[in-house]
Symmetry: C2
């Protein structure tokens, strides 16, 4: 790999990659060769005959005809030379083998629109910035999973095909399933709770979730990677928040350690490992704070809106110097029936949203585990307990106190890298009008 | 957690779990309490009044009414006593708090059919054996991912919603997608190859795959967890096989180290870490070997059949003492158009199936990266290159030599634990007639 060249002594090397740029000058040819780990300059002084005329020998002819994006394997003499801007090394070419020749005209350029770049995502992803995003994602996820495994969590692969709706009948994709219909899971919620009743204790899953959401915002996708955890024997949503912040600290610390310098160089962003505990503000109080800053949330229900989230994040940044804030105790009126409500106050729930740099990335809660209360809350929301079917069985046959969260992976990456759309940080985005490539 | 009790000194402890069994005797009550980590005996000597008559005090009354599966939190005196069969400890109860009371009648018993147990999977999963399966799965996957991360692989989350078929139009689930149709991905094949053209180098994914396969065998599901890897710059499928066996060694070694004793105790199976290299036998030779053992594969094409796979596995076990065998060089006639064929022999492919304990768990191959050869092979298979659309663009704009494999996670677990069906090792099985729970 190219990143390993700098540590080698001068001598013969063989490397493979794709052609980034070619400068075909009269006396010398330069090629910048790239692989997933970096870039290196190849140099080929032209041969001249006795009369000083340039000879069309190899690899000179191959280089002259080289199109950007072609994949090649080259052999040559590695030379350390601090005058070379690109990493202080270059390779004087002996031979070049063409593996695949790319079409010379590239359909996208640096200034292409995001939509155009998505049409040609496999070329777009060749950029070092785009490549780095997915290395960061890999590191982040592995840090979370390592935390989970070290803390005795069980990894789940819950089904994405369901016989009925998981939470609501809205925004559900319908699948032709032999003689019947199936639906794509909107979240693993139902199954994570089942694992609690099954005595799994602590579970996690990183997998796809599907929402037939026709909106075109920069934060929504019809298919996204959901990061989920659920734990038994909690006292309240506070236990879930503690788990959540420990995971994020582990994830951000790993990203900073492995990619901090690159993120600064390519994105101009300093990765900050958040300090614990993250600030916690009850939603009602947050709305007061926002109001005092001159912003009245224009909603009839008790919910926050995106601008309100940005305002409270600005307040938290100014007051606590923190990029994260838990907004807690959401009103029962805007939370699902299975969120637990605290003893003696049925108007709020043991729940939270986690805001990162002004945008919601996650919802968590303690779940109601008492069958009678659960049925009552479902009825209050206009749901027929009969329709909840097997879900209620978990509670009838015993379940511990429990809670958990679901978090959008792309949102975390978008906000970590100060990107304006999850499209930039999703390998292949899926939206109402995009199913390709 | 219960597993931590044995290391504690005698004294007051609080533990939570579900009720496994109750023995409500005249003078003393015993409860076996279970959590995800183990089981412990609770003991409660009955109180008698001055006349020697048993008093209905607490927690005695609660225990008498206790239904199996109820979740409770108890406090009492931990006592080490080697006469206690269950781990040499017991807890003399001081108090018991009921968290959720289970319905007394459990719908499944030890001798229930697999189908009935699947109906009540969350109760079925409370068995220590079932719980262990998913702890093994967690350990196995984490070992694979750790190998990948340490070797600079990038983790992918490829879309499961596609505009068109990935490999064939058969066995494809159709999704209502706003004004159009989408299809569920049968494998991440297409996207893994795209990542090669994008210069990602080495990639992996563990995620769901979907096949509208109407068959009811013990090895097939309509939704399953696929373990996939793809790597650039290979010389042949030999490089893929080497990666594959290194991963399996890492996975099996981790499972043996962490769960070997439990697997032996609960499944009667000695986990064996396979030795490297795994035996490799070209398919044509394997068919000869099987024939010499007296089994003629009853197929008109060049493929192996399940009985043939068992026969060759028996041969390998006898000859090499190995549970794994790579069958290599499958005939081009039975492999997809994108499998590369070796120089000078268009009749076979640079491909393999991996057989574990007599059953296929994986298919791997070097992919054809030369656009002209690829188009030719597609035509030969009766495919219209026009219909392959964007897939061919990867090759037109440059791609390195590459290859990879896809492996069924449940099959590995089934065969590792000598189970007869993937239903036993899948959290929630999905088949032609099963979408619930």
């Amino acid at each position: 790999m190219i990143k390993n060249l700098a540590a080698l002594e001068n001598g013969t090397v063989t490397v493979s990659g794709w052609v980034d740029t070619v400068r075909d000058q009269k006396k010398v040819q330069f090629v910048v060769l790239r692989d997933e780990s970096g870039a290196v300059q190849l140099v080929n002084p032209r041969t001249t005959d006795a009369d000083g005329v340039v000879v069309a020998d190899e690899p000179a002819s191959t280089i002259s005809a080289l199109s950007q994006g072609s994949f090649v394997t080259v052999t040559g003499e590695l030379k350390h030379d601090e005058r070379v801007k690109l990493g202080g090394i270059e390779i004087k070419l002996a031979s070049m083998e063409l593996v695949t020749v790319a079409i010379p005209e590239t359909p996208i350029a640096a200034d292409s629109s995001l939509d155009k770049r998505m049409d040609w995502r496999f070329l777009d992803l060749r950029q070092p910035k785009q490549n780095l995003i997915f290395r960061i994602q890999t590191t982040f996820e592995h840090a979370l999973r390592t935390y989970w495994v070290e803390h005795d969590f069980v990894e789940l692969h819950t089904p994405k095909l369901m016989a009925s709706a998981s939470e609501s009948r809205a925004e559900l994709f319908e699948v032709e399933y032999f003689e019947t219909k199936a639906y794509l899971a909107q979240s693993p919620q139902f199954f994570k709770q089942m694992a609690q009743s099954a005595g799994f204790g602590k579970v996690f899953e990183v997998g796809p979730a599907f929402r037939a959401d026709p909106s075109f915002t920069s934060r929504h996708a019809t298919e996204f990677t959901s990061v989920d955890a659920e734990i038994s024997w909690i006292d309240s949503h506070e236990d879930v928040m503690q788990l959540h912040e420990e995971l994020l600290v582990a994830g951000f610390a790993a990203v900073k350690a492995k990619h901090g310098d690159e993120v600064l160089a390519l994105f101009g962003v300093e990765v900050t490992v958040p300090s614990q505990p993250f600030p916690r503000i009850p939603l009602a109080e947050a709305k007061e704070i926002v109001k005092n800053r001159g912003y009245e949330v224009p909603r009839d229900d008790d919910d926050m809106d995106p601008e309100g989230e940005r305002q409270i994040a600005a307040y938290v940044a100014e007051t606590y110097g923190h990029e994260f804030v838990f907004l807690t105790d959401y009103a029962a009126s805007i939370r699902p029936f299975y969120h637990m409500r605290p003893e003696g106050d049925a108007s709020v729930t043991n729940s939270y949203d986690l805001i990162f740099n002004g945008t919601e990335i996650s919802t968590g809660a303690q779940r109601e585990h008492r069958i009678d209360v659960l049925v009552e809350q479902a009825r209050e929301k206009g749901l027929d307990p009969e329709e909840l079917g097997g879900y209620l069985d978990f509670f009838r046959y015993g379940v511990p106190t429990h809670g958990g969260f679901g978090m959008g992976l792309a949102r975390v990456l978008m906000l970590m890298l100060h990107q304006t759309s999850i499209r930039e940080v999703t390998f292949l985005f899926r939206g109402p009008s995009r199913l390709e490539p």
